[in-house]
């Protein structure tokens, strides 16, 4: 199978190859591109229809953006309130500065429970801190319960999308993975049969394993409640049946009040899966005797978020509600799929979030993984101006490069240096134009285009043609106006 032959995707930004390199295997894999394009077309069409019928869509977006911005602006106060209310309701709140600390807190909690196995609800935050490999190396068996996550876990693959993480895998590939790993002979590749296989595989685990780990879509400061938005019911299983539940959530997931969900739930499902409402949304507050887990822990994760919060323009990155509309709309993502981004957060949001979470020390190629067309901004339900942040981050990357010694020998930087000098002096500029016209004449073909240049100029003409310089410059034409020469040259 094609996908199996491709190199294993690396989603650790510290070790992933730069975007243009990582994108190559996908661009050469027609099956993968077909799978991605198909899934995206389906979601996009559904989303477009539902957004159209929603006459107050723009008002909802404005409200959603304002609520999220307000929550971030007052994050300190709201986090403290969330902690107080959650604790009062019987929950326990833990704070983790970085991924390592969060992993350790989770492991310590599991050890207290003597847990050898744990069931999991899909959580991008858990993938961000690479929790599964850590727990497994500590001897704890982890069972993902979201259908897409099972496909990836059993297929030893990585997520390529934040809402439909296995959208790059097609039904025959799923059939092969399930048949092999669940030991089912004669499994058909009918999605109904595959889903039934997953249901049977998990049912016993839900009923048996007393410890669960999950993420959160929203943390409600006013009440100390947590909300999880899902489709399959595996979330409800994990939130309801176990004795102990551990929720891992980024500190930015805060909403001020319960009522704010009236906006967020309306925009989230429409943006994410093109539904008026997802099948299940659960909200719980601490613990309740006789209903659900006896012990409930929330691990609040910073991991670079407070640093993003401090940057005025980049702060909007944290408004994100992980709906994935931006990647579904992105012409670059459509071609490369998610693995090329070298992070669990792909697409436009990944291009701005990942390098910032990495404190701009890794993933510097991602701010360039965009055509700046603005489609992501247009669909984003919380109005994150992704192109604006991309440009800001490009400036940061360029500033970093400026400090690097190797740029002294880099032809591009040398060239730009010379250009800066030439552009700042009119006489030099004119002289350069004259020289260029003479120098480029032998390469300019009859059609007025340059199709091939030698040496470093070839880097340009390899992929595009260059227009030959006109016989007369604008300056010269302006100076000669009315002298009867101008008409000759247009």
């Amino acid at each position: 199978m094609n996908a199996a032959a491709a190199p294993h995707p690396v989603l650790d930004p510290a070790h992933a190859p730069p975007f243009p390199v990582a994108a190559l295997p996908v661009l050469r894999n027609p099956q993968l591109r077909k799978n991605v394009a198909h899934a995206i077309d389906v979601i996009q069409a559904k989303r477009a229809r539902l957004v159209e019928e929603k006459t107050d869509w723009q008002a909802l977006r404005s409200a959603a953006a304002a609520i999220r911005a307000h929550a971030l602006e007052n994050l300190g106060a709201y986090l403290e309130l969330f902690e107080a209310r959650c604790t009062a309701a019987g929950g326990q709140v833990h704070w983790a500065s970085d991924a390592a600390e969060a992993r350790q807190i989770v492991l310590d909690l599991l050890r207290q429970e003597n847990a050898a196995e744990v069931i999991k609800i899909k959580s991008m935050t858990s993938a961000e801190i690479q929790l599964n490999p850590f727990l497994e190396s500590a001897g704890i068996e982890v069972f993902e319960t979201d259908l897409a996550e099972i496909i990836l876990q059993l297929g030893e693959d990585e997520p390529s999308h934040i809402v439909v993480p296995a959208l790059h895998v097609n039904r025959s590939q799923v059939r092969e993975i399930f048949a092999r790993r669940m030991g089912i002979e004669n499994l058909s590749d009918n999605p109904q049969a595959l889903t039934a296989a997953a249901r049977n595989y998990l049912r016993e685990k839900f009923l048996r394993i007393p410890t669960a780990i999950g993420g959160a879509n929203f943390l409600i400061a006013e009440t100390g409640s947590v909300a999880v938005v899902e489709s399959e019911g595996n979330g409800r299983m994990c939130l309801t049946l176990p004795r102990t539940l551990i929720t891992l959530a980024g500190i930015e997931k805060i909403l001020p009040r319960y009522q704010d969900l009236e906006v967020m739930l309306q925009v989230l499902a429409r943006s994410a899966t093109g539904e008026r409402m997802n099948p299940y949304t659960s909200l719980w507050t601490g613990v309740r005797a006789g209903d659900g887990p006896e012990r409930f822990h929330v691990v609040l994760l910073d991991n670079g978020r407070s640093r993003i919060l401090a940057r005025k323009n980049e702060r909007q990155t944290l408004r994100c509600i992980r709906c994935a509309a931006c990647m579904n709309a992105c012409p670059v993502y459509r071609q490369t799929g998610g693995h090329a981004y070298g992070s669990v957060y792909p697409g436009p949001i990944g291009a701005i979030l990942t390098p910032q979470l990495m404190q701009m020390r890794h993933a510097q190629s991602l701010p360039y993984a965009s055509s700046l067309c603005g489609a992501c901004f247009e669909v984003c339900p919380v109005k994150i101006n992704i192109p604006e942040v991309l440009i800001d981050l490009r400036a940061v990357v360029t500033d970093q490069e400026r400090l690097r010694i190797k740029r002294l020998f880099d032809p591009m930087y040398l060239g730009l240096r010379v250009a800066a000098l030439v552009f700042s002096r009119a006489w030099l500029f004119h002289a350069a134009q004259r020289m260029a016209r003479i120098g480029l004449r032998p390469f300019t073909k009859k059609d007025g285009w340059i199709h091939a240049l030698p040496s470093i100029g070839a880097e340009w003409t390899q992929t595009r043609d260059l227009r030959g310089l006109p016989k007369q410059t604008f300056h010269a034409w302006w100076a000669s106006r009315g002298k009867g020469v101008a008409r000759e040259n247009r």
Binding site: A148, V164, A166, T195, L239, R276, N278, S306
Partner: protein
């Protein structure tokens, strides 16, 4: 555990330093929260009959089964749905009116916490579950449970494969914001809520929608035409 205290202050300090304009406490943030733009539609404009019709239509779009009856016909309507479904053993929360537990079927009553609560195995083995609900939202065909005595513990509406839910017409609102207003009137924010929009589903394999992954595969809603709705 030591880690519960260690990073709390550093994180909160970093957050506060990053947001110098932030309110010192959530109570202080209240005023700017109240001033946030909310120009979206709060109240629906449909007449009561169209609102109910929309609710039923949206439920059917999710492949939920729907039927309607008058209040005094409800026990008969419950019996009819049970008979039609061929299900014999049902679980129900303790807060349901006695007359809903129609004779001829095996009812197992869950008394919530402690003594008299059904164990997981019993709930899992039941053919179905019967509950009331808090609200219905017509716009999205959503049934909202607050898990009170008539709506049951969360597990009750999770494990059985078939959920028969009684929705009174007076509980149906058109928009999601209207649900939040109602919820606000009846209590301060509820501690447990489940929003159900059709049976469990997935589209993880090639975006093909498949019903019934882990939650109940079948949702059946009886709309009861009670007095209040006729008045609105």
């Amino acid at each position: 555990m030591t880690s519960t205290v260690s990073s709390r202050e550093p994180i909160l300090n970093r957050v506060r330093a990053a947001t110098p304009d932030g309110a010192p406490s959530a109570a202080d943030a209240q005023r700017s929260w109240s001033a946030l733009p909310r120009d979206y539609i709060r109240r629906g404009s449909l007449s009561a009959p169209s609102r109910l019709e929309l609710m039923m239509e949206r439920l059917r779009e999710y492949d939920a089964e729907t039927s309607e009856c008058r209040l005094e016909e409800l026990p008969a309507a419950i019996g009819a749905q049970l008979t039609r479904s061929g299900r014999r053993t049902l679980v129900a929360p303790e807060g349901l009116p006695q007359e809903w537990l129609v004779p001829g079927f095996k009812w197992k009553i869950d008394h919530g916490s402690g003594n008299g609560s059904l164990d997981i195995g019993e709930i899992e083995r039941a053919d179905g579950v019967l509950t009331a609900c808090f609200c219905g939202v017509a716009d999205s065909g959503t049934v909202v449970l607050h898990h009170t005595a008539a709506e049951g513990r969360r597990v009750l509406t999770l494990l059985p494969d078939w959920h028969l839910c009684i929705l009174r017409a007076s509980q149906v609102v058109q928009t999601l914001p209207e649900y939040f207003s109602r919820s606000h009137e009846s209590a301060s924010a509820p501690a447990l809520v489940t929003w159900i929009s059709g049976p469990s589903a997935t589209a993880d394999i090639e975006m093909t929608r498949i019903k019934g992954v882990h939650g109940p595969r079948f949702l059946n809603v009886i709309l009861v035409r009670d007095e209040d709705a006729a008045a609105t």
